[in-house]
Symmetry: C2
Subunit: 159 residues, 2 copies
């Protein structure tokens, strides 16, 4: 069974290479970018401007193949890929929650971007604390990794 999606737009960011890119929006220091929505989908952006944050789902277009275990940026041990946000996943799909600062003629202005330039966009969802902020009480291997707050940029391990 194949699930076939088509890009609804393109993400533009200052990051031309994976190496040196922020590893998460929360470690992005506010870097700005834009999301260009293709004309045939612009009508679907109505009412989005009222949300301070949006979830972007996108295609990891620069990753080829996958690994079931990876050494994530925030750790030195191999972990199951589904317990990480690494791009080398069986289905290379990325998720980032970014700040939306404006929409003009089908172009979204966003902040806190951790996405490679020219990344194909699959979907946008409004970010809603009631739906998206469960009271998570355990964060597994990342609890140890939280001391690595100084690690903000990626290297070339997932190219």
């Amino acid at each position: 069974m194949n699930i076939v999606y088509k890009p609804i737009g393109i993400i533009h960011s200052p990051f031309k290479d994976i190496k040196g890119m922020p590893i998460q929006p929360s470690r992005s220091d506010g870097t700005g970018g834009t999301v260009e929505i293709f004309p045939e989908f612009v009508k679907g952006l109505a009412d989005l401007e009222g949300f301070s944050h949006i979830t972007l789902l996108y295609y990891f277009h620069k990753t080829s193949g996958f690994s079931l275990t990876v050494t994530p940026f925030l750790d030195t041990r191999k972990r199951g890929v589904f317990s990480t946000r690494a791009p080398r996943r069986p289905n290379p799909i990325g998720l980032s929650i970014v700040r939306l600062t404006g929409i003009e003629k089908g172009v979204l202005k966003i902040e806190n971007i951790d996405v490679l330039d020219q990344t194909p966009l699959i979907d946008i969802k409004p970010h809603v604390p009631e739906f998206d902020h469960p009271p998570a009480d355990r964060i597994g291997w990342l609890a140890q990794a939280e001391k690595n707050m100084h690690i903000k940029r990626s290297d070339d391990r997932f190219e």
Copy 2:
């Protein structure tokens, strides 16, 4: 350009029909379900059990076609589809954050499910407050809709 994904597993839930299903995990009253991961991907589940919550990305397999404006369950007005979580999206992909209560032989036990039985799973990501809980200060049309806390179940509008 086609983006082609393949299911990595199947979500099992008590919900055989869209009508009557919880509209979000946060309105699901703890309903349990399971996620069966196909054997070739089970190794990727290592270290996931340490997380209390996980993000499921899945294929809305019972929706055909899309609408750029929809009337969401929590409102009576048409809204741009990207400002809603409705399934009739250009790329029918769903996102739910659920509680993970255990993993046994490639089967995840989950709570707070709002997904149809037999839904194809695309990806699992660990839910990490640092990455996923930005301080959202505006939730657009949903601010008005928050008074509709009594609305917990879907109807047949997206079949």
